[in-house]
Symmetry: C2
Subunit: 225 residues, 2 copies
């Protein structure tokens, strides 16, 4: 008797590309994280500091997603990390086909980790898998503490939440931001989420994030060894 697949879901074009990307990355022993946030939460500043300070430990390449301009890619280039720019020309999120193309432009043999900086948008990018091993959501304290409640999808799906710009708190500039509310709401959506309070500008709190990232890469490498 021949085997019949029933109820098998047809994959979308995006899902097919995402699976291919995931396979390519996995075969090469590379990890990939997809960074998602509102515009101006500090994704690029986080990347620049992380790349600079982990340069000796982890080979990081970047895929920069922007509607237009290569302002962010230029900032990454200054760190000497390899970077490929994707301009979505109006598109509100990256898709997996774009990432497939961008991966071809990175010197994969020199890299341990590919960081994708998605288009600044807290909503749409969360619905499009790119083939990554995890999502990192960034929230700036200037955006207010109600964001996990109001935009739950991305907090529910992320491995890591970076609460950025905490230097504003000590300057009395976001004194109504209740960091405990953010943590409680995020953990209600996602028990496993790792949360780090950072200032990519001053460096405060970055070491916890670096430790997590280093461990994440080391675990994958030891699985392959």
């Amino acid at each position: 008797m021949s085997k019949i697949d029933i109820g098998r879901r047809i994959l979308s074009e995006n899902e097919k590309y995402a699976l291919d990307n995931g396979r390519l990355l996995s075969e090469g022993g590379k990890l990939c994280l997809n960074m998602i946030s509102s515009p101006g939460s500090g994704k690029t500043t986080i990347l620049v500091r992380t790349i600079t300070e982990l340069k000796e430990k982890i080979g990081i390449g970047v895929i920069e997603g922007d509607i237009q301009t290569d302002i962010d890619a230029e900032r990454i280039r200054a760190t000497e990390a390899p970077v490929v720019q994707i301009n979505t020309e109006g598109g509100c999120h990256l898709n997996a086909a774009q990432v497939a193309g961008a991966l071809k432009g990175l010197p994969m043999d020199k890299l341990d980790l590919i960081m994708i900086e998605n288009v600044g948008n807290l909503v749409c990018p969360s619905a499009f898998e790119l083939g990554e091993n995890g999502k990192v959501v960034v929230l700036s304290v200037a955006e207010g503490d109600d964001k996990p409640a109001k935009y739950p999808a991305i907090f529910a799906k992320s491995k890591v939440l970076l609460i950025n710009k905490i230097d504003l708190l000590t300057k009395g500039a976001a004194e109504d931001f209740d960091i405990e509310r953010v943590k409680t709401d995020a953990r209600r959506l996602n028990k496993e989420i790792r949360i780090f309070q950072i200032s990519a500008k001053t460096g405060e709190g970055m070491s916890g994030w670096y430790d997590w990232l280093t461990e994440f890469v080391r675990n994958r490498q030891s699985q392959r060894a």
Copy 2:
């Protein structure tokens, strides 16, 4: 000889609803503004302060767009202004059909102006007309001064740009935000755009915005008189 329309563009469902909304508002002598920004730029705080301080001059009703929760609508309700909540259940922007439904829930005879607070998203809402008389884009100084360059569509389409949270500048919390760069970039995209530098939290700079809004409503009313 009968008249033949050639090259007439077929309207999308959204455009049809937007035209109907526009007609309904115009026939009733109402104005409508569509507020668009990233999550956490301060749209609700601007609305609360504006409604409270212009209460005696302009009858303002609000349509609140959120993915889920009625956190913002509750804040508006505290001002005693009429408010209708739309939950998009994951949708990344309001559409004109949703607004058509919401308009039915407002006491139109008591209102001069309907303010629509769109879903927090600097990208998608700019592509969907709702039947409004103009768009108001809000940018918080914490988001950085490269936003008009990186997300040009909404700056090109808006009547007004509100640069919010300028209290952060005086607290030395966003000292790298170049307000002149924002103005220059926004005006390059849109010569007509009116720009106000405000802090909805402290009230600084709000009077210019109030004057513009009062004039906007008065002009419309005098056209009808």
